[in-house]
Symmetry: C2
Subunit: 328 residues, 2 copies
DNA sequence: CTGAAAGCGCTTACAG
DNA sequence: CTGAAAGCGCTTACAG
């Protein structure tokens, strides 16, 4: 029974009386290489048969996919939607589809697997969002002939394509903002020591130093809500008047825990968040933040991986809400 | 220069002195069909050449991908991470990869495009998460020979595979919970009239009726934070003592707006949320919720689309936090 | 255990 | 404008 088989151009050729070459041309819209009558006939037959192109075959012969692979992990903070929107939008303008490969939450195995999957599918380019690559990942990527670009992560070298906020500058601005409001004892909380984390640590330290202030011990964490909750006590012990939270989620955790301790924010503690997602609006008080332009980070990274001119660093902006008080 | 070309099994065959058939067998691990010496030799050459399999070619000849396509849209509430985790986990247990196709935010065009993309790539199955299909989408899906399953959406018929919470029951439970705590004037807020929405509306109405209570006008919205903010005034005008929010985001919006109006939650208004994501912990007070088991919804949907036994409806649970007061 | 050959569903010079 | 043929990189009966 033919019924059960997916129809191919061969079926269309047989039924229409043309060769598969001609069928391929009209289906592929190679305008000018077929007559209108032929087109009409073939299109009609294709529709009758319920024909649907087999992209796998097309990709094989064309040796490329016209799809960008986006590898992303489940970060505790939910900025990914904006990044994805930016990527999708720009990719579609450039005629590229995008498939998302999920790398778990900082799961090195999954991450590696995702890279390999992308490599094996002859994608146009690979985007790695918020992925901290290990040596192996990097070696794999470098050995491939496929362009790749890190998104929202700067590896510290121009040799590797990347689009992100300038994390040093971002933390510097956050710190300076607090200093400008009279704070002198300021802490940085919930951060790790990978690329993004250490760049932010540097920005924080530089700003403190530039203002002749001594930096507090940095409180390590993993950017999560739980980190924030857990670290509040240490923040309190530090005796600081203001904190910079490594992410909106850390800020939210800090806030909840502080309130449970009976603290009033921002009177007893000012919180400056990093990211500026909708989380900042949900909390009470709303969180003042250094806001990243994730959409633009996404769209520019597509430009970059497609070999078009693109910005390296996307400017951030400070969004004043209600979690920072002026220190007398 | 050979250097620039990606090596193929033909290159390995040439360099190792074996035929491409044998190369294919050892690379494909067809144990028993080659000698150990051969294996060692071929693997060595493959490594030297930096060989990487071309999955596109493999898929073409095998006529299937061993990947599940997950089509997902950017819902205002961020439960997707949990669904994805569940899907990824179960899929990998079954030897399936998963690619995610992003359908924007209720964007019918993108949604349709995503379905077509999946159809053209001979995936093992298609999962549609929180997607309300239109006629066209459904026709497309039905016409294909690829199994598909809706995730977190029940179309109201057993003919179409789906795994979700029982949304009627979910809303019924939420309503009954409030009634049990003395509330009689209860509203349902931020919901739409599609499948999930109307099922919840029915559950709400049924519970009210079963308790001889009159249902308030349902306040329509799109499950977003903004909906919650915008609808608070109407909730207030209704004079209810408790609301069921269509999602965590709606609940958060309601809460923020209420607090801005000077209301104290839950004293002045009890809020019962639907979803139970981390958002519920972030707000002050924390939101009591009907909590869905998104992870399980995800993993069971994989079973279902792979033709394995699976549950249709995943039980929900009520998580008491601090946004519901007992009404005297 | 191994190889020659056919074939997966397309595209694209080449020739007419 | 159209068709016959080669080929994309693999897998897998078939024969030995």
């Amino acid at each position: 029974m033919e019924v059960v088989m997916k129809p191919t151009i061969k079926d269309i050729a047989a039924k229409s009386g043309f060769s598969i070459a001609t069928v391929s041309r009209v289906l592929g819209n190679k305008t000018g290489s077929y007559s209108e009558k032929t087109q009409i006939k073939i299109l009609k037959v294709a529709k009758e048969l319920g024909y649907r192109k087999n992209s796998v075959a097309v990709d094989l012969v064309k040796k490329r996919s016209d799809v960008i692979a986006l590898i992303i992990n489940a970060t505790p903070t939910n900025f990914s939607t904006q990044i994805i929107d930016g990527i999708q939008q720009r990719a579609s303008e450039l005629g590229q589809g995008v498939i998302i490969l999920y790398a778990g939450n900082r799961d090195n195995g999954l991450q590696h697997k995702a890279i390999i999957t992308a490599l094996e599918r002859s994608v146009t380019g690979i985007l790695l969002a918020a992925i901290e690559p290990d040596e192996q990942d990097l070696a794999l990527l470098k050995a491939s002939r496929i362009p790749y670009c890190f998104v929202s992560l700067y590896l510290g070298t121009r040799d590797i394509l990347a689009v992100s906020s300038d994390n040093r500058d971002l933390a510097y601005q956050a710190t300076q903002y607090l200093i400008d409001r009279g704070h002198t004892r300021i802490s940085l909380v919930g951060i790790d020591g990978y690329h993004t984390g250490s760049q932010r640590q540097a920005g924080y330290r530089d700003a403190m130093a530039a203002n002749q202030l001594t930096a507090a011990d940095i409180l390590s964490g993993d950017y999560s809500y739980e980190s924030g909750v857990k670290l509040l006590q240490q923040v309190h012990d530090q005796g600081v008047t203001a904190v910079i939270a490594a992410s909106d989620m850390v800020a939210a955790g800090l806030l909840t825990a502080a309130q449970q301790q009976g603290l009033t924010i921002p009177r007893d503690l000012s919180i400056m968040s990093i990211d500026g997602t909708i989380i900042c609006q949900i909390t009470t008080p709303a969180l003042t933040s250094v806001t990243q332009d994730f959409y633009r980070i996404g769209s520019q990274s597509v430009n970059k991986v497609m070999g078009q001119p693109a910005e390296d660093f996307i400017p951030v902006v400070i969004t004043e809400r209600a979690s920072v008080a002026v220190q007398k």
